[in-house]
Symmetry: C2
Subunit: 332 residues, 2 copies
């Protein structure tokens, strides 16, 4: 009887004391202790705590993140566009016609202003020439190769080192609190799936992005999926809530973005019943990253900022709220 | 010291003995003890056992299931089509023009042969008239209402009672072994999401199906998603591996279907490296369910059966392999 009591006592000590002595570590160590950090932690705790009136059951804890400018940098141009430019240079030998055809000719002359001048039609030509007419496996291998070797034109870092350390911590923190983390990005879904699972800890099936059409066929009896030079769906602006509905089928509890392309996703999220959190990353740090908003061609943040102010969304001021921007293993 | 030893002993007893006395129950009790059941269990055990040469890491354990004819019945017509027919009858008062317009006129006269004669174009008109021009919420509410009240024309059961008990057990068994279960069906994704999560234990984000276009807009400042009368994607035949790639982004380890519409998905699955299992449900039980294959208009199984024989896929003979067809709470 005494032994049984001791056993229960030991058990009680284990349950009651161990958590008390090992205080929970700060889940967001790269964030300054500002109101932004406090609001985020408070929201997550309240939705994850079963006794809270704001409690959200685990299966409904869906958090969606834009990628470019929200989880990693997007200046001086979307990194996927830099991939396309590098591919054009690498493939130029096989395409003598590119010497006189825009936007390829401009790329080969190193004339990035000329590429910009070719506009949306030029970008589409560039994307189709570098992202299509190959199998899904071939495409993934090319992206993987580039990601492991190509360097950012300004920082000279690997692109996967230009992810935001505070956002990596937020993703981990959310998952530790039962949230399922998703990417919902204007970027290409198969481009992201080659590196994002390892870098963000987000599995391929939780990565949503723009798609080009793919075709299934048997080649000598072997099934092959080929990427076709035709847009399927652009996962930007109104396309984001549409894809969330089509693919996830539930309204997120948390949505984070950084540009007007995320406005519809944030509004759709906040319009749901119960607790919802909308987060905007505001690029205010010209020293450690870039400072841009309503004048920027990339990641323009013009319409969403006043909505965020009016609706009291959480706006991350990169300069004020983040202790560091990029992971420690790299130099800021 | 003695007390510590006792504590460890108690702990050891708990760990070592409790599993030994409670032998693992049969994971598939509604399956006869045939080669089919043994092959399925053997495959699952080998892929889940970390010491096995066939081991598959948990994140890659993706299992995809067709729905109509694979997880629930599909005779005398796809249940979603019966939903559309019932909706036409219920909405006829508001649509006097339907009295003279096919396929609506045939439906209102109870002439199902006339509906069939209207062909694919007629079915599309029927689907658009009953599945579009409403918000996604309104549509879900209507389907939910129907599912709770409508009865199958032959068995007089609720449609959600016409799911296959052996397949419910297989879904549960796979999940207990670390598999993530998905539906990949020609049926409408939002139609399935209203009832399938509860019935199959598969969350909305793991349900893939055909889609009509949806539109996001602000109505009096409130974000709304409206279903448009236009097809977006038909998740059947070659569309299945395409959607698996687009939405899941990994090749499944297990795929199960019952008709030629599943052939591409099964071939794509089996063509992957490492262990892969393809399963065909063969409807051979005219007494407890229906018996049909290559002559059937619904769920035609003509091309896939010889491929299954040649490639040694697992073919479930419903009559031989299943102890019971529908759940116990209902009558077979």
């Amino acid at each position: 009887m005494i032994r049984a009591t001791r056993f229960l006592l030991l058990l009680w000590l284990h349950v009651a004391i161990v958590p008390a002595v090992s205080a929970a570590p700060d889940p967001l160590p790269s964030w300054n202790d500002t109101a932004t950090k406090q609001q985020i932690i408070q929201f997550v705790e309240q939705t994850a705590e079963s006794n809270s009136p704001q409690f959200v059951p685990v299966p409904e804890r869906i958090a969606v993140f834009d990628n470019d400018g929200t989880l990693w940098a997007e200046q001086p141009a979307y990194f996927q566009l830099l991939y396309a430019v590098d591919q054009v240079k690498a493939q130029a030998d096989k395409h003598p016609e590119w010497k006189t055809e825009e936007p390829f000719a401009a790329i080969l002359k190193g004339d990035m202003e000329g590429v910009k001048k070719s506009g949306m039609a030029g970008v589409m030509k560039l994307v189709m020439a570098t992202h299509a007419n190959m199998t899904t496996d071939e495409f993934s291998q090319r992206v993987d190769q580039w990601m492991k070797t190509a360097k950012h034109p300004v920082t000279n870092k690997l692109f996967t080192d230009m992810v935001y350390q505070p956002m990596l911590e937020l993703l981990n923190y959310l998952r530790s609190q039962g949230y399922k983390t998703y990417i919902v990005s204007g970027g290409g879904v198969e481009f992201m799936r080659t590196w994002a699972p390892e870098v963000y800890g987000i599995p391929p099936e939780q990565i949503i992005g723009s798609t080009i059409k793919i075709e299934y066929k048997l080649v000598e009896g072997k099934p092959v999926l080929t990427r076709l030079p035709e847009m399927d769906f652009i996962d930007d602006k109104e396309g984001k809530p549409v894809n969330i509905q089509k693919i996830i089928g539930r309204r997120p509890v948390i949505a984070a973005g950084n540009s007007d392309g995320d406005l519809a996703m944030l509004q759709w999220t906040k319009a749901g019943a119960g607790p919802r959190m909308a987060v905007l990353v505001h690029h205010t740090d010209a020293e450690r990253e870039w400072a841009y908003d309503k004048e920027s061609a990339v990641g323009r943040l013009e319409k969403a900022l006043p909505v965020a102010a009016k609706e009291q969304w959480i706006v991350i001021d990169m300069k004020q709220d983040w202790k560091r921007v990029f992971p420690e293993s790299t130099s800021d």
